[in-house]
């Protein structure tokens, strides 16, 4: 009975989302106040309906109801309860349900937290969100129903969740990532609503900014989590593979990063408006494109779920409708958007424009690298793959101007900057960052390479210029101690966000240049030594988990004759799917990780073992976390939540609390 209620609730949500679109827009058209105000009510009702449906699916997983075919395929009674719950989004149908549930969550957050948004604008925004939700509801109900039954012959036990997904990282990675993906729909809805209205002012940027920031923050955390998971779970010790699906999440991130910068300009200076709108449209369109690439199975990847041509076709049509419609609207209405502010070539505006250009260039690189294999195959030239070196080389080139301009960008004034004033600061920054990067490399690097020097220098260039800028800003009017307390949230957010990037650049540079990776053949009792570390293979023992069996290899690690770690690398066989899994042993540290993964047992009883030394790899994820913290600080800025504002912009409150 419960699955039917869940399904019914989902259909109800679908109908409500359609009403949420049609009725308020009708109200806006005819000036019917009741209809305009109904948008909020429909949003709340739609949220309740889809929440019921989501909770029911989670509950069915919890009680092991294998009469539901989705559960029978993706769960098992031996699965621990927390993985049974996370299995809700472990495959195609459920993750789409999560998608619509999160879309409804964002919608209701907009509906409840934007009290001071004019009702008509709010009705338009909610209507657009409703329309997007409607498309996805149709998709779920028509092609990927999670509540389909296996009756009358249901299995006694389920086929189990893919063992790769039985992991803490995967419990939170998809919801975070989806919060980001779906969150851009709010920026999208704001942009469409503004285009419909034909009115785009600074207030629009101000409303839209915290929402965009929140979505970007989630996406940042989501991608970082995914990368971290790939590092410890896939057993290859890499942190980014330029896999099509990773690219699919990276593209909206790049567009979103460009968007938050361009929104800042639109809010503060009233320029770049039509560009900002275009970015808002692209960020969400790229999220949709990512969904299409992953869900349609056109691309081959770790993430590709069982493909079904009707699904691909549906998303493709939806994609064309949404992107095509949005661009058409943009083409018709964008000319009405006037940017009034003026600025000169040497100004912060120009540098932010440059930032956007570089981000878009990076986006194009990723897009090209992801879609080219597809195009190549479709036009009959055979299958190709585009190697990692392509992306790595392109990003190495792009990051140089990006980091250099990022560093000095915040020293530039809005509107106009005399370049002669900047000579001294730039020289100071150059000197300090050169010195500090050399010291850093001298202490932590075994040898110097040009690329490592470049990367670490870029990182320190950003760090030093951020520090210098904070110093300049806080001593501008007060003494340093008082001045630094007067800096606003958004200033701290900017500085922290940039610091996060610097940390990440240093992490990537050190990891890529100084990692030591050894695949060796080791028997119990043997040892291998490198980089002052001595790895002893102590013993092999049997392993018995809740739903897996396997072997565990114990290694003790010596550093300068002292035992610093005992590491247990596991080789598991998940009993239900008979699937082997490698659980790497990682001794994590702030400046280095030791990583051991067991390969296969060779015919003579020895083991193939993968031993890595990865310096500064934690910084790769620390950076994004700092960026996300920056995003959070930004959202908490008082100006987005105070109720009483000066008369001129009394409608600007857009509180945001769920970050």
């Amino acid at each position: 009975m419960l699955p039917e209620i869940g399904q019914f609730s989902l259909i109800l949500a679908c109908i409500l989302s359609l009403l949420q679109t049609v009725y308020p827009l009708y109200g806006v058209r005819t000036g019917h106040q009741g209809a305009i105000r109904s948008a909020k009510m429909f949003t709340v009702l739609q949220f309740i309906a889809v929440a019921i449906s989501f909770v029911i699916l989670a509950y069915l997983f919890f009680i092991n109801d294998f009469s539901v075919s989705y559960i029978a395929t993706n769960s098992n009674s031996a699965l621990p309860w927390y993985y049974r719950l996370s299995a809700v989004w472990g495959a195609h149908e459920g993750s789409l349900l999560l998608w619509v549930f999160l879309l409804a969550t964002w919608s209701i957050a907009v509906a409840l937290m934007s009290k001071n948004l004019p009702v008509e604008s709010m009705a338009r925004v909610l209507a657009v969100l409703g329309l997007l939700a409607f498309g996805f509801y149709l998709f779920v109900i028509l092609t990927s129903n999670p509540f389909e039954r296996t009756l009358p012959y249901f299995p006694i036990d389920g086929r189990d969740l893919n063992p790769l997904l039985q992991d803490f990282g995967l419990v939170i990675h998809p919801p975070m990532l989806y919060m980001g993906y779906v969150g851009f729909s709010v920026a999208f809805a704001f942009a469409i609503a503004a285009l419909l209205e034909g009115r785009l002012d600074s207030a629009w940027a101000k409303w839209s900014r915290p929402w965009t920031m929140a979505a970007w923050t989630f996406l940042t955390v989501g991608i970082a989590l995914g990368s971290w998971w790939a590092y410890y779970e896939l057993g290859w010790g890499g942190w980014w593979f330029w896999d099509p699906v990773e690219n699919a999440s990276f593209m909206p991130w790049l567009a979103g990063t460009a968007l938050i910068h361009s929104l800042a300009v639109s809010e503060k200076r009233g320029v770049f408006k039509s560009w900002t709108v275009l970015l808002a449209l692209s960020a969400f369109s790229l999220s949709l494109l990512g969904t299409f690439l992953v869900r349609s199975g056109v691309l081959v990847s770790v993430h590709a779920f069982a493909s079904d041509p009707t699904r691909g076709l549906f998303i493709l049509s939806f994609l064309i409708l949404v992107i095509g419609g949005a661009l058409l609207l943009y083409a018709v209405q964008a000319s009405k958007v006037k940017s009034r502010g003026r600025y000169e070539l040497a100004s912060r505006e120009s540098l932010l424009l440059l930032n956007n250009i570089l981000l878009i260039a990076a986006l194009i690189v990723v897009l090209l690298g992801t879609l080219l294999p597809l195009v190549h195959k479709e036009i009959g030239l055979g299958s190709i793959s585009i190697g990692e070196p392509f992306f790595n080389r392109m990003f190495t080139i792009l990051i140089v101007p990006f980091a250099l301009f990022l560093g000095i960008g915040s020293l530039f004034r809005w509107k106009r900057q005399k370049l002669s004033e900047l000579v001294k600061p730039i020289l100071i920054i150059l000197l300090l960052s050169l010195c500090s990067s050399l010291v850093f490399l001298f202490v932590f690097a075994p040898a110097l390479t040009w690329l490592a020097m470049l990367g670490v220098f870029l990182g320190f260039w950003i760090i030093v210029s951020v520090g210098y800028e904070i110093y300049l800003r806080s001593t501008h009017r007060y003494s340093f101690i008082i001045g630094i307390t007067k800096l606003g949230n958004s200033h701290w957010a900017m500085s922290l966000g940039h610091l996060g990037l610097a940390v990440m650049i240093i992490g990537i540079t050190m990891t890529q240049n100084y990692s030591i990776e050894k695949d060796v053949k080791l028997a119990v009792g043997e040892h291998i030594r490198f980089e002052h570390y001595d790895f002893h293979f102590d013993q092999i023992s049997a392993l018995n988990g809740q739903n897996y069996v396997g072997t565990v290899g114990t290694f003790s690690v010596l550093h300068n004759q002292q035992k610093i770690a005992v590491m247990n690398a596991e080789k598991r066989i998940y009993t239900v799917q008979r699937m082997p899994m490698t659980e790497a042993a990682i001794d994590a540290g702030f400046i280095r990780d030791l990583y051991i993964a067991m390969g296969e047992q060779l015919p003579d009883g020895a083991w193939a073992v993968r031993i890595y030394y990865k310096p500064f790899i934690r910084w790769i994820w620390l950076g994004p976390l700092i960026m996300a913290l920056a995003g959070f600080i930004m959202i908490c800025d008082k100006r987005y939540r105070t109720k009483k504002q000066p008369l001129t912009d009394s409608k600007n409150e857009t509180g945001e609390q769920n970050a």
């Binding site: 070539l345 260039a361 080219l372 793959s385 585009i386 392509f390 053949k521 296969e600």
Partner: protein, 154 residues
């Protein structure tokens, strides 16, 4: 020209310049990093679509089924070699030094990435067998269609 237009022109120019630079660099980098996919038969006889044979030293990907009984290991290191076959009587030998993926098995479809060493052998730097029993890359699936008898020989 008034200053406003001048500024716009400058911005537009720099935008076009930046984009074309990016495109140029991208295409250049792409040229060197496109790895064509071949089946064992295509390595010997040339691509089905174009008839072009790969040159020795070229980077490529090859996908097929691991011939049962062909896996040979070096006793002192992790060096391993095995034969890949497809449904068109193609057979190439793959040499690899490293850890094979968990799902690597004889009779299983795999993809190897590497360089062509001789007319019928490949030096692989990466061997992929995907993390799903049911899964097989579509290219490999095409290449080994109708070969299920191989699997049962294990």
């Amino acid at each position: 020209m008034n200053p406003r237009r001048k500024k716009r022109l400058l911005i537009t120019c720099s935008l076009i310049f930046g984009l074309s630079l990016a495109m140029g660099l991208t295409l250049f980098a792409l040229q060197q990093n496109i790895d064509l996919f071949y089946t064992p038969n295509e390595i010997l006889e040339g691509k089905n679509e174009t008839g072009v044979k790969p040159e020795i030293g070229q980077r490529l990907r090859v996908g097929g089924m691991v011939l049962t009984g062909s896996v040979k290991r070096d006793p002192d290191s992790l060096k391993v070699s095995f034969d890949l076959v497809d449904n068109k009587a193609g057979q190439v030998t793959v040499y690899f030094d490293g850890i094979l993926p968990d799902l690597f098995r004889e009779g299983q479809g795999i993809v190897a990435q590497g360089t062509l060493k001789s007319k019928n052998s490949v030096d692989a730097f990466e061997v992929l067998a995907k993390h799903d029993e049911d899964y097989m890359p579509p290219e490999v699936a095409d290449a080994v269609k109708g070969m299920s008898n191989l699997k049962t020989e294990q």
